[in-house]
Symmetry: C2
Subunit: 300 residues, 2 copies
Amino acid sequence: VSVQTLRHYDKLGLLTPAKVTSTGYRLYSEQDCLRLALIRSLRGVGFKLETIRNLVTDKQSVRETVALQLELLEAQLHALKRQQVLLRAVSQGQEDVMLARFRRLDVLAQLTKLEREAFLAHQLGWNPQTSHGSPEIWAAAVLDLPDEMNETKLEAWLELAELVSDGSLRKTLHQQMRPFEGVDNATMHVWSKTFRELLAQAVCAVKKLEEPDGETAQKLVREWTEALASTLNKSPDAAFVRWLLEHFEATYDPRFERYWQLVALLKDQTYSRTYADAANWLLEGLRVSVHGKTSEPYPV
Amino acid sequence: VSVQTLRHYDKLGLLTPAKVTSTGYRLYSEQDCLRLALIRSLRGVGFKLETIRNLVTDKQSVRETVALQLELLEAQLHALKRQQVLLRAVSQGQEDVMLARFRRLDVLAQLTKLEREAFLAHQLGWNPQTSHGSPEIWAAAVLDLPDEMNETKLEAWLELAELVSDGSLRKTLHQQMRPFEGVDNATMHVWSKTFRELLAQAVCAVKKLEEPDGETAQKLVREWTEALASTLNKSPDAAFVRWLLEHFEATYDPRFERYWQLVALLKDQTYSRTYADAANWLLEGLRVSVHGKTSEPYPV
DNA sequence: TTGCTCCTCACGTCACGTGAGGTGGC
DNA sequence: TTGCTCCTCACGTCACGTGAGGTGGC
């Protein structure tokens, strides 16, 4: 400890030397040293000098003061972690756009729950009144975000927000939905129920390690295309199936999987690849039914 | 933002209003607002005003400044976590001893690697020259502690240090070692090698779910007692086996297991209960060989 | 005329650190 | 005599916040 510190404590009356010589020199006793060590220790956990004075003179409950300090620490840690997430996120990227990007990220990080949901809805082009597509899936993709976010969630949110900021995901999504444009709500509801059931069966089949060119897969693919054709008011002929495969391949985007992963993290849901795997397995089955069996084995 | 903040930024020349009326009122433009937002965002991640001025006027590399700030944050987080661990550790316990305990814990937390090792050795009563018992086990219990500790390790270290601070563990340990007092180093080395092999076999047996009253266990117990008797220069008769069981039961202390658990955490070793389980299984086998088969099933 | 907001100037916050200018002991 | 350390007094740090005392627009 510096001599300035000792003088400072003396001035505050927090640590008065045992003796002062006639020439003004401060002489400290063993006891003073112990007291000084205690003061330094208490300073080391962040108490202010006035609080320390109260603690060592028994004017303030140690337990209560410690509890208070712990709360304060919690808040400080939260703030620092937020700063860390933002700075880390911005630290990669080109020098000349860093400030602009930082600006955007900070705004995104400050949004409230409702604003975050509205942001996602807007960027993905969801309007509950006019959008087509299953309302349940839209809600799962956009709503029920958490109120408070810890650092992991904040990081996920920033990645998610940047993922959708670029308008391209919205366009792809619109392409994906296009075939359903004219379908009325009731029909749509039936379709999404059927599809959920098919997907559940596909999940089971994938678990049993069934191949996408096997009987189960081909049966599911047939049911799937037939249900979809009926929903879209078309006949499930070979041309339709070919069109369907082309449609899926044209509107496929790997970022959607990352999207669901991040959303699951934000909602404290354990993300499992099962649904994505099942969907890919069905798509592979569709490919087989169009092009015939491929020579490459299906990657599990 | 408060009007004082704006005045402050104006004084520093960080944000000069676009217009000032003849009566001295500051009028800000849209651009000023954007600049203000950027300044507030940069303040929000902990940059000081001078740094911000350099950043917005391109006098300082954003990338370098961000990297520097991240390092600073890391250090601050480390410090805050240390405070948190100390305060949490002290927060339970009686009001009137909290300050004294805090004092002790802070001293313990500040020790260097060598001092921590010396502390453990001293509290457990280990002196490499004069102590009996296997040097390898002593070293595993006391040496190779980490240099730097994160918050988890610091917490473990404080618990470990308090565990051994009370002299009772040292006494129990001394009791445990007592039978080996007169044994010379060479004999001791042979014994500890034999015991390690026996323990390894016991681990295998426990994995195979063998019962402590089964053949394997009884065979191992017999080898164990015979080796121990030979080490201690005694005959492995019924009286010796009875004395052995009494000795183990008298010097058993559950805190030893916690000790090894904490040491494993400090050394980044994954602690598995297998050795403790195997030792207990052998002890139970010893019990069976002394008292006969108990009616209670052995808890796995 | 009455609130209200803005202004400037200056001092306070918190725990010391840093000179300026001076003095006592080896 | 020469460094060295101690002393006091006073100001600086950092980003504002807080009065004191005064003024312009509704």
